[in-house]
């Protein structure tokens, strides 16, 4: 069975993998990829705990719990994926969602490996490409702590790998699903159009390629559009709808700055092998591949960077990672050692710091969870969390303490003042998340007394009714 499809115009000039189409060789190559993937996944397993990355994770997990698909439909694919995992696996939803991210992120890594294998016919090249992605802090973090970003990037990488392997229908469907995970997937569209329409030896068959692109677009749109049509109002006008999603005003300088910050902070030294990979890709005549990914980068910079707190360039890195495999040139056996060792050193160094940062974050979140679980368990009175800051912390703490968000019991100081009358009428245990440890209004001061309690290794201030305090 030839690995390089006859229909795959871009890669026709590359030699078929395994020289002679040996099935065993092909199977071994993919098996090795799975082993490499397994190593990455196993290294992350200790980090998989029932933790929440941010406030968005909390509200998405809530939706998965409630099996509510009709809200925040711009991420309906992500919620549906979570619900599928929730139905299959027993246990805490927060944990299951993190497992889901790990699994989907793992498939994304495998897709990068497959793409690299397809481009370079080199197992080492494929492993290096995977190692590059597995060293990116944002990807590692997203694999251990569920959010939309990693499933989105992984699905785009899977769709791209399938497209490279000439699985047009599957690729289109996966890309359509990626659009359902987040509409930001649309920014990756150039990578699916440019490389396959600009291949040098395909100019004579441009019409055929145009037809494939059309099929790809139609099938993606069919899956994506049908789901969107069913929920069009929420999708367009909802709180997370494409018209109302939180975003900044367009400012090119800020967008460039944000993208630069991402590449500097998340890729850093990894940009070196990626740059070399791009050069080698161009040297091998894979212009469409490079320009397609660069177009994704530009589009993400122009349109994607408006959305706050979203690593929009993450899919770009996953699309560019297979380039790295091209620096292993079969004609130069020494390149295997030189480039292999050089890239490995960079990857090991970068991944070590990324893993350290991830472990620290996991430890911090685990400590926070333990503390606030203890708060929830230690109080016989209904708990209120005071002096909570912002959307992220509010939803995360609500999910930890109350098991759901939107309880209205995790409040900023201003919100506490606004609802003072309510809390002054009944008995609550009002825990201060941070100073000042003073009642936010006079009626609370009259009814409650401040005491300090040690919970989960921390000392927190708590207002208890004077009757209960004694």
């Amino acid at each position: 069975m030839p690995i390089v499809s006859r229909r795959d115009a871009l890669l026709r000039h590359l030699r078929p993998f395994a020289r002679g189409s040996a099935r065993a060789g092909v199977a071994r190559a993919y098996l090795l990829g799975l082993v490499a993937l397994g190593v990455v996944v196993i290294s992350l397993i200790p980090s998989i705990q029932p933790l929440l990355q941010n406030g968005d994770s909390a509200v998405y997990n809530d939706q998965v719990d409630a099996r509510q698909l009709g809200i925040r439909t711009t991420h309906i694919g992500y919620i549906a994926l979570g619900m599928a995992f929730r139905a299959l696996l027993p246990g805490n939803t927060d944990l299951i969602m993190n497992v889901m991210s790990l699994v989907v992120g793992g498939f994304g890594l495998f897709a990068v490996y497959c793409s690299a294998l397809k481009l370079s016919e080199s197992i080492l090249g494929g492993v290096l490409a995977v190692a590059i992605v597995a060293a990116i802090p944002a990807y590692l973090r997203g694999m251990a702590l569920s959010e939309v970003d990693v499933p989105l990037a992984a699905l785009i990488a899977i769709a791209f790998a399938l497209r490279l392997h000439a699985r047009l229908v599957l690729s289109a469907l996966v890309f359509g699903y990626a659009m359902l995970v987040s509409p930001l997937a649309a920014l990756a569209l150039p990578a699916f159009v440019i490389p396959f329409s600009t291949a040098r030896d395909q100019r004579l068959r441009l019409r055929g390629e145009a037809r494939r692109i059309l099929i790809f677009g139609a099938l993606s749109l069919l899956l994506y559009g049908s789901v969107v049509l069913l929920n069009w109002q929420d999708y367009v006008f909802g709180g997370r709808g494409i018209l109302h999603a939180p975003r900044k005003a367009f400012d090119l300088a800020t967008h460039v700055q944000r993208s630069l910050t991402f590449f500097r902070g998340e890729c850093g030294l990894l940009l070196l092998p990626l740059g070399f990979g791009a050069a080698f890709a161009l040297w091998r005549g894979l212009y469409g591949l490079v320009f397609g990914t660069l177009a994704v980068l530009a589009l993400s910079l122009l349109l994607g960077e408006r959305f706050i707190d979203v690593p929009v360039q993450l899919p770009t890195v996953l699309l560019a990672a297979p380039w790295v495999s091209l620096i292993v040139i079969p004609r130069w056996p020494w390149s295997r050692w030189v480039f292999g060792i050089a890239v490995s050193v960079i990857v090991v160094h970068w991944r070590a710091s990324a893993m350290t940062a991830l472990r620290q974050e996991i430890a911090r979140l685990a400590d926070e969870r333990a503390t606030y679980r203890a708060v929830a368990d230690s109080s016989t009175l209904p708990v209120v969390l005071a002096n909570v800051n912002g959307f992220e912390e509010t939803n995360r703490l609500e999910r930890i303490v109350f098991g759901r968000t939107h309880t209205g019991r995790a409040l900023s100081r201003n919100e506490m003042r606004r609802r003072c009358a309510r809390f002054a009428r009944e008995d609550f245990a009002i825990w201060f998340v941070r100073p000042p440890l003073t009642p936010p209004c006079a009626p609370l001061g009259e009814r409650y007394a401040l005491s300090r309690r040690r919970v989960g290794g921390r000392v927190l201030g708590v207002l208890l009714p004077r009757s209960a305090a004694h």
Partner: protein, 311 residues
């Protein structure tokens, strides 16, 4: 009044200065002049600069006033310092305006009752909510209004849109919109009427700080009023309204009318929901007949609550 002035004149107190001062220290809130108050007066007075000045001039004259004279002086000064009575025409106008506002209120309330009565005849829930929104906008003068009904209250409170008002003041279909509502706020809405309040009103923060925004509100938000549709201590939905088009301030009269309408509408909605819950679809009836050979008389809701339908 002339007699009192003369008495003061005899006492050597400059009437002109006194009246000016006294007029200025009349307490318009209590209707009592503090100028004539002596140290034995039990009514508390605000220590204004004018009071102090008068008190000083009083003391300089010596304590020569007998209680009788003092009482007379106080009566007279009160008259002098009393706010000018309205001319008969102004009083008439005031009476007319009061009558007008009362009659307007009565006609509005009558319109609300008539509309509710008319809405009760509408069987289609979609049409009912749509016409309710249009009535609130066109007849009650609520600028931008929409109705969200409670879709589920467990595990989260989810409000589902019905019909609303666009930025250009036209009716919009919002049935595809839904959002979660804070549990604590929901409980707050439930007890709103018991606390003697009719609506909840909040100033909205900028979007940068507040991502828990309602999908319905505009980017340039000002305030948002939430009027619950409560019936039998159960919140069935809410009216959201704002003035994002005109940017006008909240009008309590309009809000009160909306709350009245909402209350009547809630009763209507509750009856409708009760009917819907009680109704068993034909398919279910058939399946039940085949499986259990019984007669479903209370619907799936009762079964879910542990009723005997499926037992």
């Amino acid at each position: 009044m002339s007699g009192d002035t003369e008495t003061l004149h005899e006492m050597g107190v400059s009437t002109r200065r006194m009246s000016g001062n006294l007029a200025s220290v009349y307490d318009w809130r209590t209707g009592f002049s503090s100028a004539g108050a002596d140290s034995s007066s039990s009514r508390p007075t605000a220590p204004t600069r004018a009071t102090a000045a008068v008190g000083h001039s009083w003391r300089t004259t010596g304590d020569v006033l007998t209680p009788k004279i003092r009482a007379r002086v106080r009566r007279g000064l009160s008259k002098m310092a009393a706010p000018p009575s309205k001319p008969p025409s102004a009083e008439l106008e005031s009476k007319h305006s009061n009558t007008d506002s009362v009659s307007a209120l009565v006609s509005d309330l009558a319109a609300i009752i008539a509309e509710t009565d008319r809405l009760a005849q509408i069987e289609d829930s979609d049409r009912l909510t749509r016409e309710a929104v249009e009535f609130a906008r066109n007849s009650l003068g609520i600028e931008r209004v929409c109705i969200y009904l409670v879709e589920s209250s467990e595990p989260q409170v989810v409000l589902r849109g019905t019909w609303g008002t666009s930025n250009s003041g036209l009716t919009t279909d919002e049935r595809g919109l839904a959002h979660t509502y804070s549990r604590e706020d929901f409980e707050f809405l439930r007890g709103l009427h018991a606390r003697g309040e009719l609506w909840d009103h909040c100033l909205l923060e900028s979007r940068d700080n507040d991502r828990r925004c309602l999908p319905w509100t505009r980017e340039d938000r000002g305030w948002l009023a939430t009027t619950p549709l409560v019936s039998g201590r159960e919140v069935l939905g809410v009216f959201y309204n704002d003035t994002a088009i005109s940017r006008a301030a909240l009008d309590p009269t309009k809000q009160a009318k909306l709350a009245t309408f909402g209350s009547l509408l809630a009763g209507l909605t509750r009856d409708r929901l009760g009917q819907q819950r009680g109704a068993v679809p034909k398919t279910s009836r058939f399946i039940h007949k085949v499986l259990y050979a019984g007669r479903p008389d209370s619907g799936p809701e009762r079964a879910r609550r542990g009723g005997d339908w499926l037992s």
